[in-house]
């Protein structure tokens, strides 16, 4: 065996060894298991209502909470306040196909569960996450009753909220552009 052949054989052996090692590289196994209690803070509510907390809220109660916590930005009549950036929450039905569409909870939002989820996590703007679950149910009820989506005597809870048929429920479809 020439010196070159020896070197080549050696190189092949090394290469083979490396190829074997490459088939099962070490992977990290990091992170620590999280308890159900810890996971409770990550509540996100899909349209089915899965994960909605216990509790209930009525329109009248929601009106009082709205006046105290929401009206400064969204207006006394849920009409929106331009200066604060607080959007209108009601109105606009029938405008979506017009030259000047008005997109509100009443006219545009397809799922009532989204209102609960969003208010619970991100509102009021100056103190997000500060409303109790009952208060969130109540404010959601007030907004929807003001938009004539549910009656004034409606009570919202984990069963009734996902069943609300929003006016624009059928208004969305998947982006049709080529994938």
């Amino acid at each position: 065996m020439s010196r070159l052949e020896v070197l080549l054989a050696f190189a092949v052996a090394i290469g083979g060894f490396n190829a074997l090692a490459a088939e099962s590289p070490p992977g990290p196994n990091l992170g620590s298991p999280v308890s159900a209690t810890e996971l409770a803070r990550f509540i996100a509510i899909p349209q089915s209502g899965a994960g909605l907390p216990h509790g209930r809220g009525e329109v009248a109660q929601g009106k009082a909470i709205y006046s105290a916590r929401c009206a400064a930005c969204h207006g006394e009549h849920l009409e929106g306040v331009k200066e604060t950036g607080g959007v209108a929450l009601i109105g606009g039905r029938g405008t979506l196909a017009s030259a000047k569409p008005v997109k509100t909870v009443e006219s545009y939002w397809p799922y009532a569960t989204t209102i609960f989820d969003y208010v619970r996590r991100a509102m009021p703007f100056n103190a997000p996450g500060s409303l109790t679950d009952e208060e969130v149910y109540a404010v959601t009820a007030y907004i929807l009753a003001s938009g004539h989506v549910i009656p004034e005597d409606a009570v919202l809870d984990e069963v009734s909220l996902p069943r609300i048929d929003m006016p624009n429920r059928q208004g969305f479809y998947r982006d049709p552009r080529p994938k």
Binding site: P33, A44, Y108, W109, Y111, G171, F172, D175
Partner: protein, 434 residues
Amino acid sequence: MSSAEDCDCKEGMFPRKPLSRRGLLFAAGSTAGAIAAGLPGRASAENTPPPGAALYEVATDPTKEPGRAIGLDGGYGTRSQFETAVRIVPSGSNPYTTFSLTPLASLVGNITPSGLHYERHHAGVPTIDPARHSLVVHGLVETAKRFTMEDIKRMPSVTRKHFIECSGNTNSEWAGPKGKTVQFTHGLLSTSEWTGVHFSIFARQVGLKAEGLWVLAEGSDGAVMTRSIPIEKVLRDALIAYGQNGEALRPEQGYPLRLVLPGYEGNTHIKWLQSLQVSDVPFMSREETSKYTDLMPDGRAWQFVFEMDAKSVITFPSGEMRLPGPGYYEIRGLAWAGRGRVARVEVSTDGGRTWTLAELEGTPEPICTVRFKLPWLWDGKPATLLSRCQDETGYIQPTREKLVAERGLNAYYHYNGIQSWSVAADGSVANVAA
């Protein structure tokens, strides 16, 4: 769009008043950026340094005395006191939910300096201690886990250059030319080198269940912002990123951890990332129903409009500049594509009658901007400059008319029409239809 000024759906995405018209001069050493931003120009630079700069005495002849000592900057450098380009924030908007625009006309090369990366926040910029920050991966997984920043930095890392573009970028142009400058019309676009860990590395450590089809990403800002992302996307190329342009993410870009979803609309790249929840369905969060959906003429809306289609814009010459006279110029711009590489860019100097292939600077990277250039001898007569981009899928950047014919005037998001700039006989450049 006609309803742009009074429609609440704009929610901070549109200035209440158009940016005031201020002349931009094209001349060496001009203080164009400062003028555009309403900052003190050179005349008052003795008193106040531009943002990101420190003031030093200017030597009469820098070859006749030593410069300043090393280390006076405390160990982290500043830019020259003569450089004044800044992000601008539209006036009259809520400062916690508005956006800031990258000064594209002032940039060179392909990377956006971290301090000039565009911003869009939904509840301001949180200040987060990385020692107390973690990412929880849970939902339809075998073992829900919490990963500390230390854990994440131990994992196999990758570094990729990608642009991020807000889906609202250029939405001023749906109803026709409106934005005065390229910063205003296209400044919700920035490119960084991102460093982080592929989502697939996390997936192996928690064990994905087969029924998991979506992942809800959640930020730890005051909006606790959420977006549902298809699992095939996050498994293909999602980065859990902690690095930007060679250092840690800037707070405005999600420090200490953000999601990077190459080619997807900017708002899906959740900043200050704290949770990834695997699910069988999308969550229909506020940001994927009431916002970031594209209203069509029939009153229905596109939903989950993720990819940012191919687009380009000429950054020089561009709106509110003034060419000093006929002669040689290098037309320069940026092209980008959310579905792959930029394949080619063509430039027209005659309003779209004839097109010339522009030179691309280097080999375009996947889902990244690339700079294009074309030498131009201006004869001093009125000219109209356009650029159009084609990506590697064969898709060609459309005209505004084509977009409007397909989507109407109220889609608001995902405008990628061909941009035109007119050059008048006096050299002034303006945003006009070709």
